[in-house]
């Protein structure tokens, strides 16, 4: 019950915070438009279509992570997190409430980003492919929310979140298959890339957009993404401290 109360509060707070809403919904759309401008300068023999959806998924991944982490850290700096706990909310209801509250935002982000990408880049995908692309991007957004909740437990103020960007998010750009195949990287770099959730999302997206896509080839990657969600949820519940 308390989980729903917190989720409702997170949603009403998001609704009331215009700057935050603009940043989380409008900003990714503008970035994707910039991506279109960049790709338009590429020579025609380079097929950019295999990069568009993975990069869009990365943008959702990055923004969901950073915005969720910062909002939760703000709860800590403002003292509302401590007040919630002393006031009788359990830490599981807080994590659950945040997750549930962000489900809505992650869904909205995923839908808008995906549709803009498909429309701007004139991607000719059938309904089944679009639905599958939505599912994988949405799962990645939920992983990002979980990652944000988990990382926020290590931060005492907003500034503490930023060092995690070069630690977790930026390696995802280079090592997960977003730009180059990880198999071409040194073994140690490939291992790091394989440990990042974006790797599995990119794998699935590359498979889905193939005309001969067979869902069974991506079961393991879907499994990894879902395992990340529950794994990070478990870790966050361990690291979110009720007492100093």
């Amino acid at each position: 019950m308390n989980t729903f109360i917190i989720a409702k509060r997170v949603l009403s707070q998001l609704k009331g915070d215009k700057r935050f809403l603009i940043l989380s919904i409008i900003a990714p759309l503008i970035i994707i438009y910039f991506l279109k401008l960049l790709f338009d300068t590429f020579p025609e023999f380079i097929d950019v279509t295999s990069y568009t959806i993975p990069i869009s998924a990365f943008i959702v991944h990055f923004l969901s992570f950073i915005l969720c982490a910062i909002l939760l850290v703000q709860e800590r700096t403002r003292g509302t997190l401590e007040r919630m706990m002393i006031g009788g909310f359990s830490k599981m209801s807080i994590i659950g409430g945040y997750t549930l509250g962000y489900f809505g935002l992650a869904t909205l982000q995923t839908i808008t980003v995906l549709f803009e990408t498909i429309w701007l880049f004139e991607l000719d995908y059938d309904t089944k492919t679009i639905v599958l692309l939505f599912i994988v991007t949405w799962l990645l957004a939920i992983v990002s929310v979980m990652l944000g909740i988990f990382i926020s437990t290590f931060a005492k103020h907003e500034g503490h979140v930023f060092p995690f960007i070069p630690l977790i998010i930026l390696p995802s750009v280079f090592l997960t298959g977003l730009i180059v195949e990880p198999s071409g990287l040194p073994k140690w770099a490939e291992i790091i890339g394989n440990s990042l959730p974006l790797h599995y999302a990119v794998n699935i997206i590359h498979e889905i957009i193939k005309p001969e896509y067979d869902v069974s080839t991506t079961y393991a990657d879907f499994g990894f993404l879902i395992a990340y969600i529950f794994g990070l949820l478990f870790l966050a519940s361990l690291t979110l401290k009720e007492t100093e």
Binding site: N2, I5, R9, S12, Q13, G16, D17, R78, G79, T80, E82, R83, M84, M85, I86, G87, G88, F89, E242, T243, E244
Partner: protein, 286 residues
């Protein structure tokens, strides 16, 4: 059984000893003041009592319960007002109170929220976003959040810091009203004049208790400078700050020996300014 019982409580942050062997009993229904300068350990002690902090050694009981082991039972019975307002700026005063109150499954929460808003004189701004409120009003909303579930004991961490004198007076009248209803108030402050408004005070410095007494007894520990001019003669004395000492000293100048106690109390500057403001408000009403 006392409302709060603390035995040899210590808290260390690496090399810093924030609390050092604190032992303290707080009776029920009292306004109990924790007085000390910034960094004395007041917030650390309050946090240990509300279960937000694990002490390094020693133990404490609040309403007979251990703040860490019995946290769920205890949290239903205590109210906590932190030093910062700890509110959601994007929510209205009413929604903040409703949100924090909802954790406790209070029957008739909406009705009780209206009642407490009226009690704190916030009715006219109840639906405004807290972000638009002054510091003092935020403190009042924060107090409402701490009181909504009708706790038996309330911990207030510097509730009147950065609050204007008028609101400060109102807040203390509110605390007194609550204490009369049987609520134990455990309040910390670095403002020494507020000590006088408590039933009993503990003076804390560098995590150690320096004194525990009633404000009156603490005042009596001080000295009073007495200046007497008789004709051309001018005399200055330093006497104990007790009504008895003043009477004895005055008797040397022919004061009636039957008078055993003389007590003087002048308004402080804050009280004088408040009375000027109040007089002005009353004359404007007329």
């Amino acid at each position: 059984m006392n409302a709060v019982e603390i035995k040899n409580l210590s808290k260390n942050y690496k090399k810093l000893r924030a609390l050092n062997n604190v032992t303290l009993d707080v009776p029920h229904g009292n306004i109990y003041g924790l007085i000390g300068p910034n960094g004395a350990g007041k917030t650390t002690l309050i946090k240990a009592l509300v279960g937000a902090l694990k002490p390094s050694s020693g133990n404490s009981k609040v309403l007979g319960l251990d703040p860490l082991k019995d946290k769920w039972k205890l949290r239903k019975q205590i109210g906590y007002m932190p030093q910062s307002p700890a509110l959601y700026d994007d929510l209205s005063a009413r929604d903040n109170i409703l949100f924090f109150g909802s954790a406790q499954k209070i029957p008739d929460l909406k009705k009780k929220t209206d009642e407490i808003i009226s009690f704190a004189e916030l009715t006219s701004r109840a639906n405004d976003k807290v972000g638009t409120f002054s510091g003092g009003m935020k403190k009042r909303v924060s107090l409402c959040c701490a009181l909504i579930h009708e706790p038996k004991i309330i911990f207030l961490d510097e509730p009147t810091a950065a609050v204007d004198p008028h609101l400060k007076l109102q807040s203390w009248l509110l605390f007194r009203k609550l204490a009369e209803k049987g609520v134990t108030i455990f309040v910390s402050t670095h403002l020494m004049d507020e000590a006088l408004l408590c039933d009993k005070v503990t003076i804390l410095r560098n995590g150690e208790i320096l004194a525990v007494d009633t404000p009156k007894k603490i005042l009596e520990r001080g000295k009073t400078k007495l200046k007497i001019i008789s004709g051309e003669e001018k005399k200055e004395f330093l006497i104990d700050s007790t009504p008895k000492s003043l009477a004895e000293e005055l008797q040397k100048f022919g004061f009636d020996k039957k008078v055993s106690s003389v007590e003087l109390r002048s308004d402080n500057i804050e009280e004088i300014i408040l009375s000027i403001v109040r007089d002005k408000e009353e004359s404007e009403k007329k």
